[in-house]
């Protein structure tokens, strides 16, 4: 049994707003083992990105804290690489140079120039970007940019890889392709991964555990689902797998029954109509 690697203890955060402090997260507890793949899923605006940013060190928790390998996390660092939701590549650098920026930072003094070069090329190869290595982001498609963002994070050999909806903005085909690549890479390198997603299939396919978050404000961990599907996983074979579909429906049930967020439009309309009628009546009475 591998030991706890990353631990969030009673993490809470309040954002100062003009209308007073807004409590986005409360009592988030999470223990993650080395090499584990964890997905965060929850409705939009519940606080998934906030959790990730706290682990990354970009936000400071107001209460509680994050411990990585026995040391408290207080600031960002390259051992917790982030794949940003909108890729965040530097537009003035080529794919190669974008990856190089991180590699130089992490491996200065440890790798020779030639080794660094090889390492950068190797990482771009992992995400199948060899053909466009010297192109700048504005010459790349959305999926390609996202892949470079992943390569940049991987190339830093992070202990924890933090991914904020890495495939959110991509078409289904590209997404499937990148998911497969990610599974392969993670299988090979054994990074600990925390990935935010909106996509139930993606969560079940990739994760060892799925952390389902309750709706905000003061969001917290609602349920945690262990996914014990055999690896390597194949999306086609899993489509008819009973266990897979069981996990899938568990997540769906959590999202759409227990944490039901969006009322149906009809219901809303009916409610409004009722309000109007009531108002009309009140007027006629007056």
């Amino acid at each position: 049994m591998s030991q706890i690697h990353l631990e969030l203890t009673r993490v809470g955060i309040e954002f100062p707003t003009p209308k007073g402090p807004f409590c986005a997260l409360q009592n988030v507890d999470l223990k993650i083992k080395k090499g584990e793949f964890v997905s965060l899923i929850g409705h939009s605006g519940c606080g998934k990105s906030t959790v990730l940013n706290i682990v990354a060190g970009l936000y400071q928790a107001t209460t509680g804290g994050v411990v990585l390998n026995g040391r408290e996390v207080n600031e960002p660092g390259p051992e917790r690489a982030v794949v940003f939701q909108n890729h965040s590549l530097l537009p003035w650098l080529t794919a190669y140079e974008n990856v190089e920026l991180g590699v130089k930072r992490v491996f200065r003094g440890k790798k020779t120039r030639a080794e660094m070069r090889e390492w950068i090329e190797h990482n771009l190869e992992l995400v199948h970007m060899t053909h466009a290595i010297h192109k700048r982001p504005d010459e790349l498609s959305g999926g390609m940019k996202q892949r470079v963002g992943i390569a940049r994070a991987l190339a830093m050999e992070p202990q924890v890889l933090l991914m904020d909806e890495p495939f959110g903005a991509l078409d289904a085909l590209t997404r499937a392709h990148l998911q497969d690549s990610l599974m392969e890479i993670q299988n090979e390198l054994g990074n600990t991964v925390i990935m935010i997603t909106h996509d139930v299939d993606e969560a079940v396919l990739l994760s060892d555990r799925i952390v389902m978050m309750t709706n905000g404000p003061a969001a917290t961990v609602g349920e945690i689902l262990d996914v014990t599907l055999e690896r390597p996983r194949n999306r086609l074979e899993l489509a008819d797998n009973v266990e897979y579909n069981h996990y899938r429906s568990a997540v769906l049930r959590f999202l759409y029954e227990k944490q039901k967020k969006i009322e149906s439009i009809d219901a809303k309309r009916a409610e409004k109509q009722l309000d109007k009628d009531a108002a009309g009546k009140a007027k006629s009475v007056a």
Partner: protein
Amino acid sequence: MSNKLATLKFEQIKAVKWRDVLIGILMPMVGILFFILLWHTAAPNINTSLGDFPQPKQVFEQWGNLVDEYNTEQEREAVFYDRQEKRNAELLAQDPAAKIDAREFNGRPTFFDKIKTSLVTVLSGFFVASVIAIPLGIVIGLSQPLYSAFNPLIQLFKPVSPLAWLPLVTIVVSAVYVSDSPMFSKSYIISLLTVSLCSLWPTMINTAVGVAGVSKDLINVSRVLRLGWFTHVMKIVLPSAIPMMFTGLRISLGIAWMVLIAAEMLSQNPGLGKFVWDEFQNGSSDSLSRICLAILVIGLIGFLLDRIILLLQTYVNWDKSAVVR
């Protein structure tokens, strides 16, 4: 059928080309011609103490005169050196140990020498301003407290006219810049400093705004990579601030050129400003035409300087597809 389609297309292309030619070349020419015509007809109706206001023709004649003056000066210079050399050769022939003179030709600065002086002065003033404004702009753009500290000063000094700075600069330079064999003339230093003082601000403000406006996402990237201060500035801050910086530089150079002419008039730096001033004092029948000519040249040089900054921007900017105008 397809043939007809082809001709149709061809005609469309021709029509588009026509439009481009019309907008790009013909219309500017029409504008210029219209202006010259207006000037030509209006000028004789303006009677000044120096005679009628010059027409375009007379102004362009002055160009010829100025070129002639330049050529005469060149000849005089050649003759001067020729004579000096001959005399030295004779002296040496009589007595190999004789002391020979090597005096420099001390001719009158022609119109073209004055253009050169003006260009050198404005560029050095602009250079000094940029060397101060860009680093300072970066520093105050990166730090909100420093920005708050500098902002009132910037706002206070930005609107000050060069004519207000000049007396102050003149007196201070006269007091501080004392040397027996000055490398630069006082008037040059005074004009340069006045230009710098006035053209500093747009570059500083725009650089600061550009630096402060770096996208939050990119700053997060830099924080995650834990880039050092220098790398952060070089790799993240500067590239994203470049467009704003150049906007500032362009405004600054424009101001520098305007200020220079005024500064030269008062400080007597032998440039275009002094040329205009001298002609004004001179009051000969040619003076008005020469002043008009100087105005046209000043405008043209200002335009060219702006184009040069634009070229520099397209060269430096990472975004080659950015439209600069």
